[in-house]
């Protein structure tokens, strides 16, 4: 199979038929074998029943029903785990993305990119509560992860399936897929997509969301930049404390040598931070242990994204 299109659905009873038809039209026009996977994330309305009826008529449509509501990332992960296509496309289930953009993604993948990310360049959202915060968030995410993507929140993405199947997707990590995938050496492209206004419901950047994004960002930084060498990452973390500790200890030494007085405060603080440095280094050692016993080594996926350049008549020489 060439193509798998995955859309998570949660209480989308009004949209599911429209979405299915739009995707079908787009996919049929491509003239390749494809499947559509709807993941019903424990909807409370009749989303499942409606999509089930569709699936019983169309052999290209597959419905995965979750037992409960687990969130968007697990829904995408389930779709990806069950996808059979060589190219995997993920999109929102609420018609904010336009399935008409799918052919552009296929084209880009066929150009040799491993991951194509959508960019909602004309976002149909409120300026203050969504657009500006998300612009700032995207800029920071780009700076921290080193993968400058203009729109990390856009669900419409295309992947080569062998790569995305090996990238761990959990919690709310779908926002950081490009960053994670970049570890494998994946070539990332970004294309402009259409974006439709959300019809029902609204989510905002509240204080707790900002906190969550910051924490996730720190996590992703730890994972990306130093997952293969945790010790290095933790030693870097301890540098500022080493400076403080050095300052305090030299103040102590200076007072002792020049005035002969002992400052308990300086030596205590200095030693405290020495303890902290030791602790952080040990954390790094534990990190090495964790990494070694784990089973995710993104940089080892490099063979999937690398080209082999070889002379043609090597054997005949």
């Amino acid at each position: 199979m060439e193509l798998s299109i995955i859309a998570p659905l949660y209480n989308e009873v009004d949209n599911v038929k429209l979405l299915y038809e739009a995707i079908k039209t787009a996919a049929d026009s491509l003239d390749i074998t494809y499947e559509i996977i709807f993941v019903d994330d424990g909807s409370k309305d009749d989303t499942f029943e409606v999509s089930k009826d569709l699936a019983l008529k169309d052999p290209n449509l597959k419905i995965i029903k979750f037992r409960g509501n687990y969130g968007q990332t697990p829904a995408m992960a389930a779709g990806i785990d069950n996808a059979e296509g060589k190219i995997v496309i993920t999109m929102d289930g609420d018609l904010q993305n336009d399935p008409g953009d799918i052919p552009l993604f296929i084209e880009k993948i066929n150009e040799g990119y491993d991951l194509v990310v959508g960019w909602r360049h004309k976002r149909q959202d409120k300026l203050i509560s969504r657009k500006i915060p998300s612009k700032i968030a995207n800029w920071i995410i780009g700076k921290v992860t080193g993968v400058p993507i203009k729109d990390n929140g856009c669900s419409l993405k295309a992947y080569r399936s062998e790569i995305i199947k090996k990238v761990p997707l959990y919690s709310e990590m779908h926002r950081f897929i490009p960053a994670m995938a970049s570890l494998t050496g994946a070539r990332v492209a970004e294309i402009k997509v259409r974006h439709h206004a959300r019809q029902f419901g609204e989510s905002k950047y509240g204080l707790s969301r900002i906190y969550k994004v910051i924490m996730d960002l720190l996590t992703i930084k730890t994972i990306i930049a130093f997952s293969s060498k945790p010790l290095l990452w933790f030693s870097l973390l301890s540098v500022p404390f080493a400076i403080i500790s050095f300052l305090c200890l030299s103040l102590f030494g200076f007072e002792l040598l020049s005035y002969g007085t002992v400052s308990l405060v300086y030596i205590t603080i200095g030693m405290l931070f020495v303890i902290l440095i030791a602790f952080l280094l040990m954390c790094g050692a534990i990190g090495e242990l964790v990494y070694r016993t784990g089973d995710v080594r993104l940089h080892e996926l490099s063979s999937l994204t690398s080209d082999v350049i070889q002379g043609v008549n090597k054997d005949e020489r």
Partner: protein
């Protein structure tokens, strides 16, 4: 229930034991009344000489009784797991090795099963002492607040559930008590059913301090399970950054005083306390990062979702 499904009854023999011959006879007559085909599996958790002798005689007299003897005491959850592994039924019924509910009430439990994935018993009306009931109430209130569930009696181990629940949820340590909460969290349909408490349970329930302490640990345990397992840094980070920021503020205060008001720095204990808080904050934070590394490196093996069914039309 449409067909009479096969029920595997698993009874762990550990700390509290009533006379097994009497208990077995009561359970047996109750199960016969229920009408489903059944087997009873006793798992002996360690050295119980008298009980083992009684059970051996039971095995000789009945052909649907199985006894598994563990080489040493592994704890109730381990005993249950071994029992599950050796059972064959699609439905599993766990029972205590002592009178907890009236055995005749088992048919109520089976009837209440219906379309649920699990039914768990709640002893009601309760006949044991007021202080026990009071403590149990507090325990479940706290648990309910942490886990957003409304179970009233998790101490009751009379539970009937489908095999797929224990295939998907791994219990260890003392966590078997929270199986209903875990199952509900995974999206299974769980219901609590009121069963009459056995009159024989009333007169000997005297808890020691140790029991209360272990309940407290249970609460901590479930708290960690609920809050940590997915995003450790979000939880650790909250404690860590709070301690770090307040420590940092406390650190700056004497320094500003030194710079602008000329108060000497060398004898300010606030500095020491502030550095202690900074150190603690960073340590908690670092542990959170380690937690995230653990989650990340095992993310491919632990599925976060639970598929009920996949529907598609066959192409042929």
């Amino acid at each position: 229930m449409k067909d009479k499904e096969f029920i595997s009854v698993v009874i762990p023999i550990s700390e509290r034991i009533d006379d097994l011959l009497e208990l077995h006879a009561d359970y047996k007559s109750a199960l016969v009344k229920v009408g489903n085909p059944y087997e009873i599996i006793y798992v002996v958790d360690g050295d119980f000489e008298l009980e083992l002798k009684q059970l051996t005689s039971l095995v000789n007299d009945n052909d649907n009784v199985k006894v598994i003897k563990l080489a040493k005491t592994f704890g109730e959850a381990a005993a249950l797991n071994i029992g599950f592994e050796n059972s064959t039924g699609e439905l599993i019924l766990t029972l205590p090795a002592y009178y907890q509910v009236e055995p005749t009430e088992l048919s109520t439990l089976v009837q209440a099963f219906g379309t649920n994935d699990m039914v768990t018993a709640c002893r009601y009306p309760r006949t044991d002492s007021g202080i026990n009931r009071f403590m149990a109430k507090i325990f479940h209130k706290i648990l309910g607040a942490i886990t957003n569930s409304s179970f009233k009696d998790l101490g009751c181990s009379v539970r009937l559930f489908k095999r797929k629940i224990i295939e998907e949820i791994v219990v260890y340590g003392e966590q078997h008590r929270f199986l209903p909460i875990a199952a509900k969290g995974r999206g299974f349909k769980v219901e609590e059913v009121n069963l009459k408490q056995s009159a024989k349970e009333t007169y000997r329930r005297i808890y020691r301090i140790r029991t209360y302490f272990s309940r407290l640990l249970d609460i901590l345990n479930i708290f960690f399970l609920v809050k940590f397992t997915k995003k450790p840094l979000r939880f650790f980070g909250l404690i860590g950054s709070f301690t770090f920021v307040s420590g940092g503020a406390l650190f700056l205060y004497p320094i500003i005083e030194r710079l602008f008001f000329g108060v000497a720095l060398a004898d300010r204990p606030a500095l020491v306390i502030a550095s202690l808080m900074i150190v603690l904050g960073v340590q908690v934070f670092a542990l959170g990062l380690i937690g995230e590394l653990i989650i990340f490196t095992h993310a491919k093996n632990t599925k976060e979702y639970n598929i009920e069914k996949i529907i598609y039309k066959n192409k042929s």
